[in-house]
Symmetry: C2
Subunit: 428 residues, 2 copies
């Protein structure tokens, strides 16, 4: 029995969040892919069954009012709000992340052209701001953000300027309309400086749009505190909403009455059932809605968010850092240095809730890990990606994952129980 | 017992589709709101439970491949295809109808500017077509189509021209880029001339976009046969996919390699998992995808589409017309003429699968109908709307609905069984 195995036991014994694991459906697999698809919260199946059988099957159309279907996008937005440091009334749930990136980025360009993310009410024409014609985008971003940014640029008469996040402050200027940034890099797990970059973008008179897919639910975001203008995020990673569950859009309260969506559907009309030919946008968060909300997926997400009852994001962050620290420690101890290279920053201030290890044959290595009951994922061309969801991953899981990783190369450390997981155990 | 009551019994006895009703979860309510939210197919709850508990809960991330999640948008599109007269490989499911209207309309304008919906391969610059700068839209349309069309016009440098469908041929010209039309008017139930209008639009070198929300699943559409370029539709009305279930986009095969989506998400990339910074659009129907598909709602829809096994759209259309004919006959017999005025065309060629009755106090009248177990809906300001889903509405339902409508004004015809439904019976 290795020293790290004992240490894992001690860390688990002192883990305040350990009991939250029972709120999920889990098995003996070490599931380190919650940054791709969160595990199933135990209360979701029953809720979904009620939505299908009673709300849809029995109440049918009456559920739009009686079961709260119509107001679900704002209600669930308010449930997400405290997890990303937002006050109520600023987040609306619906559509995919990609569609929300489009709304946010086009909205940001339009805001910049009438006065930026500041709280002043100066209209268009002041100080030449209508000339802003550049969208700066994180060149290391998840690809969809870049593709959508290119379309947003094309449709708003802007040029797209891809740079690394570190280069952003240097390229900001009078021409910058909007800047699209990822809070945590999907590949390396690097955490970017949201407060500092937001300030720099706003100081240049541009509008920052943050993609929170890989940070919400894993670490404090502080949208209100840091003056973020617009943000989007998915709900199927650390928020455990289920496969393809709807994304969300945050529009800062002070910007809401100037937010000009490129997707003005009937759900964002001030009077949706007026069926009027002219569009009058709703006030507040509902202005970010588009079409009829996807109720089954949305109410599954609402149930999934109940696992957060009594959980503090600060506590989640503390455990997340302890988990990734411990994983790096175990990998250093078990896996010969020549096999893997960590792409994840050592500094806590620069680390999300995942560890990315570069290695040769990464695709094949991940396949073997999964066969041995340790599920992470592979990102082209050479990255093993491990996500650590503090709500259900424990320290013994972490130690086992590192040990199994070493076993893949036949480098197993001395034997304790669980050293030989069953082949094919990944299905649980 | 009235003569029409007996006639209803005879019609039901001769109804080839009568047995399909058992594929749905229904009660003793007369549900004439399937044009708003279709009833629950009986096989859906079990399927959804499997998706949640086993596919998500046990297989987790592996389900993207092993449970066919990744290919669901095209697979389910191919299941819808025969219902709208489309060959395989042209329909993709995902996003809301509003978002699909945006994709289709912007795509149509771009297609028109490089050569229209014709099958020629002439590039941009030929015969001045790049000057096309007008989007014609049905002024009587469901509002979201108009709002989205306005945004599409703004973002493509076009002017929006709202006209009635009858006026469309007169306003087409060299400047027309795209025309957005509803196959069936959501309010009056009027069926528009899809073949004739499509031909006229294409003859003008423009591209037609059809909204099939109120026709798909209720009558033959014939997308391939009539040369339609682009079409969109929802799946929660006559396709019974559930509240807010994902919509679909049809792009005619010959146009697919020139379809230029304004929402190019990673799901529509030629190599989605290549995570490449440059966007290369996928071939075929997947080019209409955007972000991660909403699996719970999508697979509920897939189960719901199984009710169509062995059902012909021609048979559905024949029954639909018989139902609406019979409803108009019963209303004429039971309800004094001064009370209601039908807005629905008498001619079969101009009628969808609903009947719209204009009356004073329509909101209050509908409330009373619902209390008496007849569920339709109210459309501002003065319309009672009744949808007839041939898969589960029978002729006795129709007779009862007309009879209860008469009772609302205290004009009940002579008593047969069922004349006095329980108050509040709408919940079943």
């Amino acid at each position: 029995m290795s020293e790290l195995h004992f240490k894992a036991g001690e860390l688990d014994a002192g883990d305040d969040l350990a009991s939250v694991r029972s709120r999920f459906v889990l098995d003996d697999v070490v599931y380190l892919d919650g940054n791709s698809l969160g595990a199933l919260p135990a209360n979701v199946p029953g809720r979904v069954e009620d939505v299908v059988r009673r709300q849809w099957g029995e109440l049918r159309i009456r559920s739009w009012e009686e079961s709260g279907w119509w107001t679900a996008p704002e209600r669930i937005g308010d449930r997400i709000a405290p997890l990303v440091g937002a006050g109520a009334g600023q987040i609306v749930v619906g559509d995919s992340t990609s569609v929300n990136v489009f709304k946010a980025l086009v909205g940001a360009v339009r805001l910049a052209r009438i006065g930026g993310a500041g709280h002043d009410e100066r209209g268009p024409g002041g100080s030449g701001r209508e000339q802003r014609d550049e969208i700066v985008v994180d060149a290391t971003t998840f690809p969809t953000d870049g593709y959508i940014a290119e379309s947003a640029a094309r449709m708003t008469g802007c040029t797209l300027r891809p740079v690394t996040p570190a280069e952003v402050p240097d390229v900001l200027g009078d021409r910058t309309a909007a800047v699209l940034l990822n809070h945590v890099d999907y590949r390396t797990g690097r955490l970017h400086d949201l407060p500092g970059l937001t300030s720099a973008v706003h100081a240049a008179g541009a509008v920052a749009v943050w993609d929170l897919c890989h940070s919400a639910g894993a670490l404090p975001v502080g949208l209100d505190e840091h003056g973020v203008g617009l943000a989007v995020g998915c709900t199927y990673k650390y928020l455990n909403g289920g496969p393809g569950s709807p994304a969300y859009l945050y529009v800062r309260r002070e910007l809401q009455d100037r937010f000009d969506s490129p997707l003005p559907g009937w759900n964002s009309h001030a009077e949706p059932f007026g069926m009027r030919p002219d569009y009058t946008p709703a006030a507040g968060a509902p202005r970010g809605r588009v079409g009829t909300p996807d109720i089954l997926s949305m109410l599954a997400l609402e149930a999934a968010l109940e696992v957060w009852d009594g959980v503090s994001v600060a506590g989640v962050r503390a455990k997340s850092l302890a988990l990734t620290d411990f994983f790096l420690e175990c990998v250093a101890a078990y896996v010969p240095a020549r096999r893997v290279e960590s792409l994840t920053p050592v500094a806590h201030a620069e680390r999300g809730s995942q560890v990315a290890l570069r290695c040769s044959d990464a695709g094949e290595v991940m396949k073997r890990l999964i066969e041995r009951g340790v599920v992470g994922d592979f990102r082209h061309p050479d990255v093993l990606r491990f996500g650590f969801t503090p709500l259900y991953v424990g320290f013994a899981d972490v130690e086992r994952a590192a040990r199994v990783l070493a076993e893949v190369w036949g480098e197993a450390p001395g034997g304790g129980p669980g050293d030989t997981p069953e082949p094919g155990g990944g299905a649980g």
